[in-house]
């Protein structure tokens, strides 16, 4: 408990320093609980997520950083490796390939990379995965873009 708190505090300070360095990620710690974080990440360019801003929720377990944070999308997203209902993310570093060398900030970077490079062969969202696997890139892009417009873009007017 002490160890995880100390580590998270260091990450907090690092985030304050890096804010300018990484404009695509805005990582914020809950005011009253250092084990709860949220992040706003920008959809990577040249993907159907471009122009969208996606919110992630982090729940950090007590044995952190020996165990990974639990991360899910709060913003609806159509992506093969994100559960369409729960926002759960299928990413190896959040499971068995986790190591303390990762940070909350670098996890955000890995999730942005996952958005740009979906792994259609290990889908949590089968509809999305099947579109890509059957080669219907156009269909996939149009669905993903539609949900980006509906859920991840600020409403105008």
């Amino acid at each position: 408990m002490q160890q995880s708190r100390a580590r998270l505090f260091k990450e907090y300070k690092e985030v304050q320093r890096e804010k300018v360095a990484d404009p695509d990620i805005q990582l914020v710690c809950d005011d009253s609980n250092i084990f709860k974080w949220t992040a706003l990440i920008k959809g990577p360019s040249e993907t159907p997520y471009e122009g969208g801003v996606f919110q992630l929720a982090f729940a950090v377990p007590e044995p952190y950083p020996l165990q990974p944070p639990q991360v899910r999308f709060l913003t609806k997203i159509f992506h093969p490796n994100v559960h369409f209902k729960t926002g759960e993310i299928c990413l190896d570093i959040l499971k068995n390939a986790w190591s303390p060398a990762w940070t909350l900030q670098s996890v955000c970077r890995a999730i942005i990379a996952l958005m740009a490079h979906p792994e259609a062969d290990s889908p949590l969202n089968c509809d999305s995965g099947n579109l890509l696997r059957s080669g219907d890139v156009r269909g996939f892009n149009s669905m993903a873009r539609m949900y980006t417009r509906l859920a991840a873009m600020p409403k105008k007017g």
Partner: protein, 305 residues
């Protein structure tokens, strides 16, 4: 018609490929239930008590005669075995306890000074490789703290029982295992050219991928690459005794061992440090435990070399 057939065929292929990969893909993404092996492993403490080798023989009562023969030989050379939990961290945990126990018993201040120099080199190596300081510094600090606590003279110096307790306490034990994982990854990445052929031969991945998936994550098992890297990085020799079913054609059963001697140990030093490495581990396929040599056998091992 042609087209329609193709479509049908494609669909069938797709369905087949989906069902073929289904197991793998759900393996990644389904809720992770602890496997039977993990549950069994969790019943064993991180570090067991010293046990006589007869306890090892008891395990193989009905087993291969070659193994029993080999255990007999081990029994003549070693007084005890100390088991570690089979959770994928057994090599690092065995090394941890074996090393710290040696320092506690020998009170070898010069060795502590020496390893601290190496630990600092490892810290610099990680920095040079671009690791963020705060991701590894807590693990380094905890290991150095153990060294200071163990050398008597300090007011805080700890007893043998306390060392055993700490090695069984997750918050200390896992942190030190992780320290070794960082050191090992740093060494492999720094000497990537040297390690690359071994890594390609073992797992057909890049050095970076290997470190990310097989060294840095807790619970990933070690093999000769990890052992070589850790031994080199910290400058600590490790003897691994192999207990498996292999035997010579000539009929005589012998127990093989391999000494991992750190690079940069020159011959003079080898002569000086003469005796067998002070860390001896027993390897059975997939698992490491600690062995305690009989005092008289150290001489015998020398002659062998």
């Amino acid at each position: 018609m042609q087209n329609e057939n193709d479509t049908v065929k494609d669909d069938a292929e797709l369905a087949a490929s989906i069902s073929a990969t289904q197991e793998k893909e759900w393996g990644c993404c389904s809720v992770q239930e602890p496997s039977f092996q993990e549950e069994e492993a969790a019943k064993v403490p991180y570090l067991g008590d010293k046990e006589p080798l007869s306890s090892l023989a008891a395990e193989y009562q009905a087993g291969s005669p070659i193994l029993l023969e080999k255990i007999k030989i081990l029994d003549s050379q070693y007084v005890a075995i100390r088991r570690t939990r089979g959770d994928g961290n057994c090599f690092f945990r065995s090394f941890m306890f074996s090393y710290l126990e040696h320092i506690l018993e020998s009170q070898d201040g010069a060795e502590v000074d020496r390893i601290k120099v190496n630990v600092e080199k490892c810290r610099k190596a990680l920095q040079n490789l671009g690791y963020t300081d705060f991701t590894f510094e807590d693990f380094f600090a905890l290991f150095l703290e153990q060294l200071d606590d163990i050398l008597q003279g300090g007011e805080e110096s700890i007893s043998y029982d306390e060392l055993v307790n700490r090695s069984r306490d997750q918050s200390v034990s896992d942190y030190i295992v992780m320290f070794f994982r960082f050191v090992t990854a740093g060494e492999i990445r720094t000497r990537a050219e040297f390690f690359e052929p071994f890594i390609t031969g073992l797992s057909n991945t890049t050095v970076d991928q290997f470190c990310k998936t097989s060294v840095e994550p807790m619970g990933e098992e070690s093999d000769h690459i990890h052992i070589t890297a850790l031994s080199d990085a910290l400058g600590v020799a490790i003897r691994v005794v192999y207990l498996d079913r292999s035997s010579c054609d000539t009929g005589g059963v012998t127990v093989n061992h391999h000494d991992f001697v750190p690079v940069g140990t020159n011959d003079e030093k080898k002569e000086a440090s003469a005796a067998a490495p002070f860390i001896t581990l027993l390897y059975r396929p997939g698992h490491y435990d600690i062995l305690y040599p009989k005092p008289s056998c150290k001489v015998l091992d020398n002659v062998e070399k």
